[in-house]
């Protein structure tokens, strides 16, 4: 496993597109985790009567333990596309350069090749979750009014769920890359699928009151795993936990993509 990850990282690190996308992603995570409160404070200092519905936003406890974990993960997941694009780049290039063929000739099995990409996806998802954990810890310690071991770690499992979301999404992008094999087209298809196709079906489902439609849309199901926590700051009911059927659904999607990728690569002549 370490060997496969090492191979992948050697392919990826020197790649300029990967450097750009992952830097952007890292910056995005940092801004979410650290930057919101300073920004609000800055606005407050510039604008008089700065408020939202009569509430001064700088007193909203976004960054307090334990709520911070759901707040951070539910926002950070919006930026998963940046990671997804870099992974699509990595797999589609293997087909367009035909390096997958040379990798197999040199001594990887087709399964090992696929696993190396899946391990890479796992690595990127884990690295994101860990980064978010560190950033969250720092910010939480700064802004929380009360700090105790229980409070800090009570909802930290949201990071595990966040990892699962990212991992399942990255499996989906690997599937798209394997299916289409041309990096630019695959990226286009991914973006089109997420923003046009899934939203189209989702809205149609809402209008026709077919709520189940959402569960047939992989990216929507993945997004829905962590519910939006922010309405609670205007005193609305939210779901501040993750249910087992929702996790099973996402795990099911992940398994389906894994199966599809294996079929595509193993059956195909390279």
């Amino acid at each position: 496993m370490i060997r496969l990850l090492k191979i992948e990282l050697q392919k990826l690190w020197p790649n300029r597109a990967f450097k750009w996308l992952s830097s952007l992603y890292l910056i995005a995570l940092t801004i979410i985790a650290v930057g919101v409160m300073p920004f609000l404070n800055y606005l407050k200092s510039k604008i008089e009567d700065f408020d939202i519905d009569g509430v001064d936003p700088t007193i909203i406890p976004f960054y307090e333990f334990p709520d911070i974990w759901q707040n951070l993960t539910s926002v950070a997941i919006w930026f998963k596309l940046l990671l997804g694009l870099s992974l699509i780049f990595s797999i589609a290039n293997e087909f367009s350069y035909r390096t997958i063929r040379q990798n197999v000739i040199d001594g990887l099995s087709k399964y090992e090749f696929i696993w190396s990409k899946i391990i890479l996806a796992g690595f990127l998802a884990a690295a994101s979750a860990i980064t978010l954990f560190v950033l969250g810890l720092i910010t939480g310690l700064i802004y929380s009014s009360e700090i105790s071991f229980v409070l800090v770690f009570e909802d930290v499992y949201f990071l595990l769920v966040f990892f699962l979301q990212l991992f399942a999404f990255l499996l989906f992008t690997l599937f798209v890359g394997t299916l289409i094999k041309k990096s630019i087209i695959a990226m286009g298809v991914l973006v089109f699928w997420i923003f046009a196709v899934e939203n189209g079906f989702y809205i149609w489902g809402q209008v026709k009151e077919h709520e189940w439609i959402e569960y047939l849309l992989p990216v929507k199901s993945i997004n829905a795993l962590i519910h939006n926590p922010f309405p609670k700051y205007i005193f609305m009911e939210i779901q501040d936990f993750v249910t087992f059927p929702e996790i099973a659904l996402v795990a099911g999607w992940g398994t389906l993509f894994y199966w599809a990728i294996i079929r595509l690569v193993v059956k195909r002549d390279l």
């Binding site: 191979i7 050697q10 350069y97 063929r101 040199d106 001594g107 099995s109 002549d269």
Partner: protein
């Protein structure tokens, strides 16, 4: 001598087209084996199946007496068609990835670069390489694991004469070190210079397999020139000559077994003709190859 590769009834069909048709072949350790065949005769498809990148329709093969898998491939150094590397990585970076795939120490990288003469450009990106350099990097990459078998597919394709000569030198060097070699090519001259064994494929079928040193055997032919109008008649009269063929200003005589150029010389002198040109022609692989191909086509008709 132990067997390196055994192929049993290997076939690959693309719909109705039989790219490789019931191929059987055995390659022993130490052979330098040339696979000849016109374009589209199934050479690359065969090698692709032996290296697990193309799924065979039927049949199987064994490397080193066991079923081929990723571990047998680690003992093989192979390049199919053109050299394939990550264009945005340097030569050294590319070779390091191959080291990790094959499970070889990275100390091999400078050694193989030295061997193919690419030390100076090792740090340049692969996409900046000339075709000859790409080809040399590919050979370096195949050498990384100190392979028991090397497979090269058209290694001199697209190279200029100097590049071809360089690559050929390299192949002869490596072959002399006693490695088993499988060389697919349509450049017959190359195969004749380098190989010990060869086989001929045509439309996916094996139509000939034999030793390169046997190519020159068979009837001896001698080229003769002389300033005499009777030369042809004199030659045709002789009992030691099977047949005479005229090519422009010279005659090619196919000898009866046991007679040679010396005998012709003496005979002509006795007849009052002085030969001004006398040359034994060894049959080239090219000629043999064309004979085999045409023989097969004729046989089918």
């Amino acid at each position: 001598m132990d067997t390196v590769l055994t192929i049993n009834n290997l076939s690959k069909h693309y719909g109705k087209i039989k790219a490789v048709d019931e191929l059987n072949l055995e390659i022993k350790r130490g052979n330098v084996f040339g696979i000849l065949g016109p374009n589209g005769s199934g050479k690359t498809t065969t090698l692709g199946m032996l290296l697990d990148v193309i799924n065979p329709t039927t049949g199987d093969f064994e490397w080193f007496g066991q079923k081929g898998d990723q571990n047998t491939r680690k003992r093989i150094g192979a390049i199919l068609e053109h050299p394939i590397f990550y264009p945005y990585l340097s030569g050294v970076q590319n070779l390091k990835i191959v080291c990790d795939i094959k499970g070889v120490s990275k100390t091999r990288v400078p050694e193989v670069l030295q061997q193919v003469g690419l030390v100076k450009r090792g740090e340049s990106k692969f996409r900046t390489y000339s075709l000859g350099m790409k080809q040399r990097l590919a050979i370096a990459s195949a050498l990384l694991c100190d392979p028991e078998v090397m497979i090269l597919d058209e290694p001199t394709n697209g190279l200029d004469p100097e590049g071809i000569a360089e690559i050929r030198e390299l192949i002869i060097d490596i072959a002399n070190s006693g490695k088993t070699f499988i060389l697919a090519s349509h450049l017959l001259d190359e195969v004749q210079k380098v190989c010990t064994h060869f086989c001929v494929l045509q439309t996916g079928k094996l139509i000939y397999s034999g030793l390169v040193e046997d190519v020159g055997k068979g009837d001896l032919t001698v080229e003769v020139k002389a300033d005499s109008d009777e030369l042809q008649a004199v030659l045709e009269r002789s009992e030691m000559i099977k047949s005479v063929k005229r090519e422009l200003d010279k005659y090619t005589a196919t000898m009866v077994n046991g007679y040679g150029a010396k005998d012709i010389n003496a005979y002509l002198f006795d007849q009052g003709i002085t030969a001004k040109h006398l040359m034994i022609k060894t049959k080239s692989l090219e000629k043999q190859f064309l004979e085999i191909l045409h023989g097969e086509e004729g046989g089918q008709k």
